[in-house]
C-alpha cells in the first residue's frame, strides 16, 4: 500500500483511504506540500515560438511532439495542416499559446487546463470536452457536443455549432457567434452559454442550473427550462464576455433572451467549480 504522508489533500480530509492496486500510482509528490502542479504540466516561455507541420504526423505523434516542445520551454506552438485529424492538442495542463492553422476532427483540445488556443478552421464533435481553464477560439464552425462537460474557461466558436452544445457543462462560458442545434445546454449544471444566432429545439432540456443567453430565435425550450429577466448585471457581464470573445460588439443586449432552470426536476447543489478543481 502507498504511504500517504501529510499533504494539502489530506489536510482537506481527502485521500485518507488505504490505496491499493492501480490507485497506488502517485501523481503528486507528497513531500512538496505546496507544490500542486499537475503531472505533465510545464513552465513555458511565450516568447519561445515554434511550428509543427502535422501533414504526415499521426495524432499520437503530434501530441507527443507538442509535449516534448513544452518540456523544452516553448510557449507558442503553431500547428500547420492539422487536416481534420482527431484528438489533437488534448491534455495540455499549462499556459500555452497554441495555434492550429486549419481544422480539427473529433475530440480536439479535450481535457485542457490553461492554454489559449486559436483554431483558424472548424472543429468536429466534442471539441474542448472537459476543459478546465484557458481560452479556445474557433474561427469557423463546430460539430455537436461542443464544450461537453467543461468546468471552466472560455470556449468560443465564431461560426455555428451542432447539437448538444454544452451538454453536462459544470462551469465556464461558451460563446457561439452563429446558430446552435437541438438540445443546447442539455443537462447543464453550471456555467453560461451565449448564442448570438438562432437555436434549435429543446434548449436547456433538463438543465440543473446555469444560464443560457440567446439573441436569435428559440425553436423550443426543453423540459424545466424557463425564461428569466435579463438584469443590468447580466448585460454588463455579457458586454465584457463578448469583448473577450471578439464577437458581437454591435449587438443590442436588450434583445437577448435569458433562459434558466426551473429547478422542478432536481435541485443540483455541490461544490463550486473551483473547490471541485482543488479536490480532484
Amino acid at each position: 500500500m502507498a504511504n500517504i504522508k501529510d499533504s494539502k489533500a489530506t489536510s482537506m480530509g481527502l485521500h485518507q483511504e488505504a490505496l491499493k492496486g492501480r490507485t497506488q500510482q502517485v501523481f503528486f509528490n507528497p513531500e512538496e506540500s505546496e507544490n500542486f502542479y499537475y503531472y505533465g504540466a510545464y513552465d513555458v516561455d511565450f516568447n519561445q515560438r515554434t511550428e509543427i507541420d502535422a501533414m504526415d504526423l499521426s495524432c499520437r505523434e503530434l501530441n507527443e511532439k507538442m509535449h516534448s516542445l513544452m518540456k523544452e520551454g516553448y510557449g507558442t506552438i503553431v500547428v500547420k495542416n492539422p487536416q481534420g485529424k482527431h484528438s489533437l492538442g488534448v491534455g495540455i495542463l499549462n499556459k500555452l499559446n497554441l495555434i492550429f492553422e486549419g481544422s480539427l476532427g473529433y475530440f480536439g483540445v479535450g481535457s485542457i487546463d490553461g492554454p489559449v488556443v486559436r483554431i483558424t478552421g472548424r472543429v468536429g464533435w466534442s471539441c474542448a470536452e472537459n476543459m478546465m481553464a484557458g481560452k479556445v477560439v474557433i474561427e469557423k464552425n463546430a460539430g455537436s457536443c461542443f464544450g461537453a462537460a467543461i468546468r471552466g474557461g472560455d470556449l468560443i466558436c465564431k461560426g455555428s455549432v451542432g447539437a448538444r452544445t454544452g451538454i453536462d457543462m459544470k462551469g465556464g462560458t461558451i460563446v457561439i457567434g452563429g446558430d446552435a442545434g437541438a438540445f443546447t445546454g442539455f443537462m447543464m449544471q453550471r456555467g453560461r452559454i451565449i448564442i448570438l444566432g438562432d437555436v434549435g429545439e429543446n434548449l436547456g432540456d433538463s438543465m440543473y442550473d446555469g444560464t443560457i443567453f440567446v439573441l436569435g430565435s428559440i425553436k423550443s425550450l426543453g423540459s424545466d427550462a424557463i425564461e428569466a429577466e435579463l438584469t443590468d448585471l447580466d448585460k454588463k457581464w455579457l458586454k465584457r464576455k463578448l469583448e473577450v470573445a471578439e464577437i458581437g460588439s454591435n449587438i443590442d443586449l436588450s434583445k437577448i433572451t435569458k433562459v434558466v432552470a426551473g429547478k422542478k426536476l432536481w435541485n443540483y447543489d455541490a461544490l463550486e467549480p473551483t473547490e471541485r478543481k482543488g479536490a480532484i
Binding site: G84, G102, S103, Y106, R122, G124, V161, A163, A182
Partner: protein, 313 residues
C-alpha cells in the same frame, strides 16, 4: 459505429470509384467488417446493369456458411434460365468472384416481378439493378473490396459508401451496406445508426409486397423509401416522412440516378460533416473522409437535427 460517405460532382464525370474508395478507407476505423459502394457510372445506354450474388464470402471473419463452388455454378445456371424465361437478353456477363456477377442486359418488363423470379433461387440476391448504379459490397476494407472488384476504374458522377461495424446482424454480404431500393432501379441507401421500430415497419412493408434480404435494420430505410416512391411520393418527400415514421438514431444517405440526399434524425445523434461548393458536394461521418478529396483548407459544417437535403448532378 459504422462510417458513411458520399459525393456528387455537378456536371462532371470523374473516377468516382477511386474517390469513394479513398473516402471510405479514411473511415475504416469506424467499420472494419465490410465495405460497400454504390457507384453511379456512365452506364450502357438504355441497358440495365445487374449486380448479383449466388453465395457469400466465407473468408476469415465472415459469419457465412462455406459452400462448394459447384453449388454457385448450379445457382447461376438457374438464374440464366429464369432470365431467358423473363425475356431478358444478356449482352455481357462478368464473373468477378466465385459468388459475384455483373450482367449487362436488355429488359423492358416489371422490375419487381423480375427480382422476385431471380431471387426465388436459393441464396441468390440482386445487389442492384440500374441504368447507372453499380452496387458492390463485400468483406474487408475499402481498398480490399475496391481492388477485388476493380472499382477504382469506374467513372461516374456520384456515389455513396459504407464501412460496417456489425452490431445486430452477421458479418456477411447480405447484411452489408449499401442496400438497393428494391424494386426501383438506381436507388441505394447507406445508414449509420440504429432503428428501433424495425420489426413493426418490416411487418407492415412485407404485407405490401416489399422484400427484405437481411435482418439488418438499415435495409428498412431502403425498402421504406422504395415503398414511399412506389406510392407516388418524391424521394425528398419520402425522406422527410422518414424523420417521424422511423424511430431511432440515424443519419443516412440515399442516391438515385441523378441525385444524392441526406437525412438526419431529430436527435442529431449520429455525425455527418458536409462540404458544399458549386461543383462538388461531399459528405462523411468524419471530416477526414472529405480531406481525401480536398486536402486544402475548406469550409465544412454539421447538418442540423431533422435536416433533409437533396442535390442533383
Amino acid at each position: 459505429m459504422c462510417g458513411i460517405a458520399g459525393l456528387i460532382h455537378k456536371g462532371k464525370t470523374v473516377k468516382i470509384g477511386y474517390e469513394l474508395q479513398n473516402m471510405l478507407q479514411a473511415l475504416k476505423h469506424r467499420g472494419p467488417d465490410s465495405t460497400g459502394f454504390a457507384l453511379y457510372g456512365e452506364g450502357h445506354g438504355n441497358d440495365y446493369i445487374m449486380r448479383f450474388k449466388v453465395g457469400e464470402n466465407v473468408k476469415e471473419g465472415s459469419s457465412a456458411v462455406n459452400e462448394d463452388k459447384s453449388v454457385y455454378d448450379a445457382r447461376k445456371k438457374r438464374v440464366d434460365a429464369h432470365l431467358k424465361e423473363l425475356g431478358a437478353e444478356v449482352i455481357n456477363e462478368e464473373q468477378i468472384t466465385p459468388y459475384s456477377f455483373k450482367y449487362i442486359m436488355k429488359y423492358d418488363g416489371d422490375l419487381m416481378e423480375f427480382s422476385k423470379t431471380i431471387e426465388s433461387v436459393e441464396m441468390v440476391e440482386i445487389l442492384s439493378i440500374g441504368k447507372h448504379l453499380e452496387l458492390v459490397k463485400d468483406i474487408g476494407d475499402a481498398k480490399v473490396v475496391s481492388k477485388q472488384y476493380s472499382l477504382d476504374q469506374i467513372k461516374g458522377t456520384h456515389g455513396i459508401g459504407h464501412t460496417r461495424m456489425a452490431t445486430e446482424s452477421g458479418v456477411d454480404i447480405r447484411s452489408a451496406h449499401p442496400f438497393w431500393g428494391y424494386p426501383f432501379s438506381d436507388v441505394s441507401v447507406v445508414h449509420n445508426g440504429q432503428l428501433t421500430n424495425y420489426w413493426n415497419n418490416r411487418r407492415r412493408l412485407e404485407r405490401t409486397g416489399m422484400r427484405f434480404m437481411s435482418e439488418c435494420d438499415s435495409e428498412l430505410i431502403a425498402v421504406y423509401l422504395a415503398q414511399k416512391m412506389r406510392s407516388g411520393a418524391s424521394l425528398e418527400e419520402g425522406m422527410r416522412d422518414s424523420l417521424t415514421e422511423l424511430d431511432g438514431v440515424f443519419t443516412y444517405l440515399v442516391a438515385t440516378q441523378d441525385s444524392l440526399g441526406m437525412a438526419k434524425d431529430t436527435m442529431a445523434a449520429k455525425p455527418m460533416v458536409l462540404y458544399e461548393s458549386d461543383d462538388l458536394v461531399a459528405l462523411g461521418s468524419e471530416e477526414i473522409a472529405i480531406r481525401t478529396l480536398l486536402p486544402q483548407e475548406i469550409d465544412t459544417y454539421d447538418p442540423y437535427d431533422g435536416e433533409v437535403k437533396v442535390w442533383q448532378i
